[in-house]
């Protein structure tokens, strides 16, 4: 069932994925302001009306990009947790470092993921992707509670502090409200670890 060559000039074959690829390229290289559906179509080498056979509208394409961002984030969190020692504190810190790094390395995708313009409500695949990200953090917290390292609280309560603090740090960095150079990984690392440590051990002495 491979698309035959007679078709392949006119019928693209896998235009859907080509459009996702093109949109990502445009977004990363030229920014969100330059990301028009017409430009994406141009980069993919099709007419400006062609994308409408594969996405209901522009928002639907953007939602796919955002979903990809959540999947990448979840993968990074799980990788960080696996590669850390058994100690749940260390696991949480490394997950935090991974979280902030990924967010900061892909600011344009981050904006799509967290700007709130993408309405997750009706798309089950999208919801699953965001839930998986939350679960990755929850696993670490649950383990810390089970081992007696973390406070005996509902895990949803503790995971929210961890998520909120890492997410906030990342968003402040992306918005350039920290005096840190976002591309200076070493300094950013120190900052992340400092925030993570304070979250874990508390501000009060």
């Amino acid at each position: 069932m491979v698309p035959n060559q007679a078709h392949s000039r006119y019928h693209h074959g896998d235009l859907r994925n080509a459009l996702i690829q093109a949109a990502t390229t445009v977004l990363v290289e030229k920014g969100a302001a330059a990301l028009s559906l017409r430009e994406v179509a141009r980069v993919a080498g099709v007419s400006h009306a062609a994308p409408y056979r594969h996405f209901r509208d522009k928002a639907a394409l953007l939602r796919v990009l955002a979903q990809g961002g959540f999947e990448r984030l979840t993968a990074a969190l799980n990788r960080a947790a696996e590669n850390s020692p058994h100690n749940p504190e260390q696991k949480l810190i490394e997950a935090g470092v991974a979280y902030v790094r990924i967010v900061v390395q892909h600011p344009e995708i981050t904006r799509l993921m967290f700007a709130g313009t993408v309405e997750p409500q009706q798309d089950p695949a999208y919801l699953a992707a965001t839930a998986a990200c939350y679960e990755a953090l929850l696993d670490i917290i649950r383990q810390g509670i089970a081992q007696g390292t973390f406070r005996q609280r509902p895990p949803q309560q503790l995971v929210l502090v961890a998520w909120a603090s890492m997410h906030g740090l990342a968003m402040l960095a992306v918005a350039r409200l920290l005096e840190v150079d976002v591309d200076d990984e070493l300094t950013l690392d120190v900052l992340i670890r400092s925030v993570a440590a304070n979250v874990i051990y508390g501000i009060v002495k």
Copy 2:
């Protein structure tokens, strides 16, 4: 030097502020997607080219709205700190509640403030507004350190944890990634206080 009536049909008098007002109305009532410079001009009752006498481009107008958001946020933080008891822990919690509430109550302005599309770098007034917001939080932290309630750490280190966690919680709420109804103030309050308490006392028991 009041603008005389002969002028006032053609020469608006205070178009700059009228445009800011119109833009705010459009943003709040119809959302960021509907916020075009032409629509703003329409609402203000002038031609679509008139705004260019008062703002270099669309981004300049949006930056003014974002700056207003920071000023309102700073005012709310200072008010919360003043109205709280002498106890720095309580002050910090109330400031957190105020922060998240303001952010959540004005999601569209929040997006402008923190999306990172507005480049603060070159605008001194804008930078001053963001710095004042940071200072409001820093004051509370400094006081807590001075009184011996908070850990003896550089205040910039502690303020970052507090800011990041409150900011993160607010941004997750705005992005509708929490299962909470953002308009349910009571539930949101419980959440904020839970996060604040965990930040202050730590995740580790």
